[in-house]
Symmetry: C2
Subunit: 148 residues, 2 copies
């Protein structure tokens, strides 16, 4: 059981932006900080922007900013929005070929467990991900504006 890299990277982008506070960031600096592909990160940021987590400001002094307060970004909601395919097993798919599906209770039972997963995750926000480690995180990410 895994989350996608797409979801993983979207969490890293938000942590980066939260640690940087009101300073704008670029995709290049985030890609270089985490040593991940700039192209992949562009798609992640595009989706974070479409889903109103991130604002991309164009122009010479442009860059990325968080759209919302980190304490208002619930992690369950974020993962649900970024994780495109929550089909835990074959019977969740439209092209399911498992012959016992009409009488099997696996799907509702797994949905119950999935719901418990997201309820637990929704108890935390982006602010909790940083906790009181914000200065230490900024240092690890070499964010000059915070450690200066």
């Amino acid at each position: 059981m895994h989350l996608t890299r797409f979801t993983d990277y979207s969490i890293r982008v938000l942590i980066y932006l939260a640690a940087k506070g009101e300073e704008r960031s670029t995709i290049n600096e985030i890609a270089s900080t985490f040593n991940i592909s700039r192209n992949h990160l562009m798609k992640v940021v595009q989706e974070l922007s479409q889903k109103n987590y991130v604002t991309a400001i164009r122009g010479k002094h442009g860059g990325l900013l968080l759209t919302r307060d980190p304490a208002s970004i619930r992690l369950g909601g974020l993962v649900r929005e970024m994780e495109h395919d929550m089909s835990l097993v074959e019977c969740f798919h439209e092209d399911n070929a498992c012959i016992i599906t009409p009488a099997c209770r696996l799907q509702p039972i797994l949905n119950d467990a999935l719901s418990a997963f997201f309820t637990a995750l929704d108890r935390y926000t982006l602010a909790d991900l940083l906790g009181n480690q914000q200065p230490q995180l900024a240092k690890l990410m070499r964010i000059p504006t915070v450690s200066a």
Copy 2:
């Protein structure tokens, strides 16, 4: 987020054996019922046997039987045992290269959610997967001994 086919198939094997009751089953009949690879299923059954869910009896009148009562097989425990890799994101891996891991709270938060997932799943047993649908399931799986 997905469970592996390995886990999915292990659940199907246990449902089949539970619906069949005290009659022995063969890998061939389960593979043909679910239209899945016999080779893949052999590995699944081998692991179910190693983990004491299934007993394989050799010989002419041999076959597979459930080792335990379906009402005593908790689904959280089963999925935990069959799902080999529960590394939700990169920082769960030994070769993790994410530079913020020393100060980041993602791992404990995701572990909390994972724990809620398994606690919810452990409220159900193999017997709950069949519920009162056992005759219907046996019919869908064309198990003659039950529908006779």
